[in-house]
Symmetry: C2
Subunit: 295 residues, 2 copies
DNA sequence: AGCATGCCATCAGCAATGCTTATCGCGTGT
DNA sequence: ACACGCGATAAGCATTGCTGATGGCATGCT
C-alpha cells in the first residue's frame, strides 16, 4: 500500500483510463499498469475492471480510504515543513465569515493575532497544514450533531455554540411578518448562492432533503455585509445565523421552523494545542459552555 | 514521506533508541539511521535529537500526524482485503455495552444481523477495518459536543441520542436520597473500574477535571447487569446513562448535577453506507431525531 | 586516568525495486 | 477488413534500499 500506488489508483479511477492517468502523473502507461497490478496483487483482489475502466466494489471501498489518506499525508507534510520554516508566528486563527461572532472577537488577545477568513472547506485544511493554529467552522447541523468536516488530519473539534437559523428577507417580502418559516416552502424562491460568505446552497438542499434552491445570484466574496445588502435589495434569500441576520437595514430575519437545524460553530485544532492557541481555545470554550450562546 | 519511514520514525520516537527500533522492526541499525536521515532531509528539518534520542518540536508535530496515518493505512488495507474475501456477510453492528438501548434493539431487522459488543476503542476500529458495517459508541461529552473518537478512518458520525448521566448507588448509601450529585464530591468514594462495560474512570477524571476516583474493584467484562449488581452490592459506585441505571434492584440512580455532561451515543459508519446498513442507520436516526431521547 | 561499552553516523557493496522502451493481444469504430 | 487505441507483458537498466563493516563520541566502570 505504497502511497504512490494509491495515488495512481485514484487517478486512474478518476480518469477511467490508464493512459490518461499516466500522462497526468508523468509516468508511462506501462508504469501505471504495473502500479495497479501491484496493488491488486498486494490486496488479493481486483480493484478495477478494464474495458471499461471502472472500480470494482472493493475498489470503491479503497477509494473511500485512499482519497482522505493522501490528503492527510500531504497535510502532514505541509504542516511539519511549515512549522520547521517559521518557528514563531504568533497565533493564527482561520475562520469562516459567519463563524466569527462578537464573543470570539472579544476573546482574542490584544496582540500577535493573525485572523484569516477562508471558505468553509479551507479552514480544516489550513489547520491541518499548519497554516493556522486554530479554526472556526460553522454550518448547518441537526441539533447536537457534529458538523461534517472534511477528514484531513487528526483534528479535535469542540462545539463552541449553537444558535437558531434565520431566513433573511427584504422587509417588503410577503412572508416578512411570519414568526417562522419552513424551508420546504421556500425551495422555489430566489436564493443567493454565497458558498464562501453564507451557507452553501448544497447544505440547504441536504437539510431540506429535496431539490430546488436555484441560485438567483452568486456571490463569491466573503463579506457578510455584502450578502445581507444583496438580500435586502431583493436579489434573493439567504440563510444566516440569528446574530448575523438581525439588524440589517431593509431586511428582516425570520427564524427557520422546519427542518429542525441549528447554526453550529465548532473550534478545530490539530491534536492538543499548546501555547497561545491553548489559551484562546480555553477562553472560547469556557465562554461558550452554555449551549445555544452565540459566539 | 514513505509510510515505512514514518513507521520507523514513530518506533524510534517511542523507544527513544535507533538500535532498539531496529531490533523491533527487523532492520539493522544502519537502515534505521538512514530512514531517519531520509525523513529529515525530505522535510528539511531535524526530527530527533540524538543522545538522548527525543523528538524535536517538529518531530512532535510529525508524531501527531504519523500515528493516526499509519493506523488508517492499516485499517484501509484490512477493510479492502476483508471485503474482498467475504463479499456477503449480512449486517454487522458493533456496539459498546451501554450504547445499545431498547430503541436500537427494536429497530434492528428481524434477520441477518450480527451484533458484536466491543470495548469502546475497538468499535471505531472495527468499523474502519470492515469488521462491522455500523458502530454505536457512547461516552461522556459536554452537552452537544461530539465524542472524541480515535481517528482511524474517514468515519462519519451522527448523534443518535443524549441522555442524562446518573451515579448508581446502593440504596443503603447515605447519598441515595439526594436529587442530584456533584462528581467532585465523589472523587474519594469507592468506584468500580469497568472500562469495557461502563464508562472508563479516565473519562470520569477528565470530566471532573481532577484526580481521585481510585478503583475499588475492576470488572473486565462487558455485561452491564454484572456491573449494576456490583454497584448494588456496595463494591463501588459507577456512572451510567439514566436508562441503564434505573430499575436496578437494591440500587438507586441519582442524576449527576455537576459537571454538566451528558451520555451521548453516536452512530459511526465508514463513508456513505449502502444497502442494509443505510436502512438501519436511517431508522436509528429518524427515531432518535428528537434530542435527548434515549436510544 | 584509562579503558571498555554502547550508541549513532557513515561508507562500500550488493540485491531488488521500479522505471523505461518495445512489443503483443484485443476490442472498437470506420 | 483494417487501422487505431487501449491495456498487458517482457527485457533492460538506473536507482533505491538494504546489509555488514567501520569510525567518532559519549558514558560508566575499574
Amino acid at each position: 500500500m505504497d502511497p504512490h500506488l494509491l495515488r495512481t489508483y485514484v487517478t486512474v479511477a478518476r480518469l477511467a483510463s490508464f493512459s490518461a492517468a499516466a500522462r497526468e502523473l508523468g509516468y508511462t502507461q506501462s508504469a501505471v499498469s504495473q502500479h495497479i497490478a501491484a496493488l491488486e496483487q498486494d490486496l488479493g483482489t481486483d480493484l478495477l475492471t478494464r474495458r471499461p475502466v471502472a472500480p470494482t466494489p472493493a475498489g470503491e471501498r479503497l477509494l473511500e480510504h485512499a482519497g482522505p489518506l493522501l490528503l492527510r499525508l500531504e497535510a502532514a507534510r505541509a504542516d511539519v515543513v511549515r512549522r520547521a520554516a517559521a518557528p514563531e508566528h504568533g497565533l493564527t486563527l482561520a475562520t469562516t465569515p459567519t463563524a466569527l461572532g462578537p464573543r470570539t472577537v472579544a476573546a482574542l488577545p490584544r496582540a500577535g493575532v493573525t485572523l484569516r477568513v477562508l471558505a468553509r472547506e479551507e479552514v480544516p485544511e489550513a489547520v491541518a497544514a499548519g497554516r493556522a493554529d486554530l479554526g472556526l467552522v460553522d454550518g448547518l447541523a441537526a441539533p447536537s450533531d457534529p458538523l461534517r468536516l472534511p477528514d484531513v488530519a487528526p483534528l479535535t473539534t469542540y462545539g463552541v455554540g449553537e444558535e437558531s437559523v434565520c431566513v433573511l428577507l427584504p422587509d417588503t417580502h410577503p412572508l416578512a411578518g411570519r414568526p417562522g418559516l419552513r424551508l420546504g416552502d421556500l425551495a422555489h424562491a430566489r436564493w443567493l448562492d454565497a458558498p464562501d460568505a453564507g451557507l452553501p446552497l448544497a447544505q440547504l438542499r441536504a437539510a431540506a432533503g429535496g431539490s430546488g434552491f436555484r441560485p438567483a445570484l452568486r456571490y463569491e466574496g466573503t463579506d457578510v455585509r455584502v450578502l445581507t445588502a444583496l438580500a435586502a435589495a431583493g436579489h434573493g434569500l439567504t440563510l444566516l445565523p440569528r446574530t448575523a441576520a438581525t439588524g440589517v437595514p431593509g431586511a428582516v430575519a425570520v427564524p427557520l421552523a422546519q427542518p429542525r437545524v441549528v447554526h453550529r460553530v465548532e473550534l478545530v485544532c490539530l491534536g492538543t494545542p499548546g501555547g497561545p492557541a491553548a489559551r484562546l481555545a480555553e477562553v472560547l470554550l469556557d465562554g461558550g459552555a452554555g449551549a445555544g450562546t452565540p459566539v
